[in-house]
Amino acid sequence: MNKKNHTSLIHISKRREVSLGRRWGIRALAIILAFVLSAVVTMIITGLNPIEVYATMLKGAFGTPRKMWTLGQEIAILLCVSLALTPAFRMRFWNLGGEGQVLIGGLACAASMILLGDKIPNALLILIMTVTSIAAGALWAVIPAIFKAKWGTNETLFTLMMNYVATQLVAYYIIVWEVPRGSGKIGIINQNTQAGWFPQIGNFKYLLNILIVLVLTFVVYVYMKRSKQGYEISVVGESTNTARYVGIKVERVIIRTLLLSGAICGLTGLLLVGSTNHTITTTISGGRGFTAVMVAWLANFNPIAMIFSSFLLVFFSQGAGEISTAFGLNQSYADIMMGIVLFFIIGSEFFINYKLHLRKNTGKEGA
């Protein structure tokens, strides 16, 4: 044993500066590897060759005009939650309460539709749905924000626990409004009168949602990059002390930003209930409050880049669904596919921030 020359096989060091090109290079490589590994796993399970695997996945996403619209709709909804989380995350406020904020927004929307449907003009009803949903989402996010701003409570746990409160509230109101009695389901609200349903543009069921989210993407982009408030958010995110030093009221920024974050989640709830499902269930958010964290992170909190990251995740999920149906596979297959994608995406962040040094076998290791 030569103690002097003893070094570990792999040595990890933090990267100081990472160029934009390198960062995206690593991410692109991770995505390519995710595609390769998912194809290999699919080949083993189904016996398809790799070209057929990708062809089936493409068919699942783009096979028919309807599939493309569904893809667009899924991207829009996921993107909307991601946009909501972005301002909070830029401020290093870890809002893990997207799920609950979406649900509570959806609940407010459903309540308006059930209680006011057919009693007031449709335009007024939609206006009320919009205001209440956005307000409910904002309220759900601002409660942990106030606690954080005033007493420094942990926002990660607080926002997370607010999800459960929202879920239970929705569960309670489902039993209040269920039809038939005891069924635990509300069903489509105002199915025959369509009161409170968002208007459909031409024959395109999901076009309105997609347009709303596209506009919102642009607005959030400008807000973050060009507005004074957006700048304040990044200063607070960098260092609260710096922010205070330059005269930014940190508490105010935290509360204001979370109002915005929650409001956009509430809007997502509005789109899910008022424009898409026309019902409310405890699972209507479908985990998007958490998937959106990945979308926002992968895109480095850039709203335009988030279009692509949400596309990537939705594409994989639709593709996995198509392969499941074609080969009679169950949910585990789709879960494995998503697991592979997320593993590589999260893994790539490690290689962006850290560098691996392999021990060179020359016998003369450097310090």
Binding site: R66, T70, R181, G182, T276, N277, T279, A334
Partner: protein, 397 residues
Amino acid sequence: MKVFKALAVLAAAATVFAGTSVMAGEVDPADFKVGFIMLHDENSTYDLNFINGAKKACEELGVPYEIKTNIPEGQECYDAAADLADAGCKMVFADSFGHEDYMIEAAKEFPDVQFCHSTGTKAHTEGLDNFHNAFASIYEGRFLAGVAAGMKLNEMIEKGEIAEDAVKIGYVGAYTYAEVVSGYTSFFLGVRHMCPSAEMEVTFTGSWYDETAEKEGATKLINDGCVLLSQHADSMGAPTACENAGIPDVSYNGSTVDACPNTFIVSSRIDWAPYYVYAITAAMNGESIDADWTGTLATESVVLTDINENAAAEGTAEKIEEVKAALESGELHVFDTSAFTVDGKTLDSYMADVDSDPDYTPDTEVISDGYFHESEYRSAPYFDLQIDGITLLDTAF
């Protein structure tokens, strides 16, 4: 043996005959694609029962099929139904109660495609030619399973394991929904048919599939002194709790004998294949499909699994056959009003909420000729009376 052989030959001949008659029709089964929408996949006993029925029916008829699993009860169901219609399916079936409204949306959009929904309540009032509901008189199966349970209780009384005046059984239900109420009441009436002194406690989980809650509910009932259990929820929670505690169990949706060899007595289930065969054949021949179809013992839609001799009382199979014959002949009715009371009174009239509406308005007289007519005015159950002898421990759901 000879009789059996003759029957087999007859059955084979009937199949061939049915096959040829279909072939003689205008539609080639190979061109008649059918789609199925399932809430979960085969890991749920509920969905597995549908998946098996779908495969059996399609293979028997020779029609191509596509099954979409894990379709939530939301817009995803509409998307899936429309996607199946796009893919050339002439018929689309869905298996979960919450799919109904989205199937109706799809039915309105695709008038040339037939949409059939199991367990739903709206087809008879919706007025769409291409939207249909189906269910089965599963209360008859529950009653028969109750008879098996009652025999087991009698055996336990005879052996001196329990006292005749203190027979308490338990039931784990999902929701306080009519389907569940109808289920536990018919089971209880089957038990009382054999063991008149029995009382029952029911607990609800607030979910159709929650293994932990079902297991906890079952354990609660066992600790409460229940000597036999049954359930209407879709996981292995209750059967497992029974096996661990050595308490006899009557299961649902299918046999749980593999996991519970010492305690599983029997299980009732709906076989969906007869409905699928009926509806697909009718659609292929251009005939109309019933807006509301109720499978029965006679259509072989309501079936019992094999009886587990390790747990069941002696003579159970013979007794079940006897009671089944009486049910089929109309000599015996499950909800005979002389067999139960509500608040101490025998009922001679009851208005049920058959046409679902948000105010639960009672709209149909369902008691006549001395019995409650379950699943006759609509296939999905509407028996929601709380009869004497059954105690609900919680009704939050």
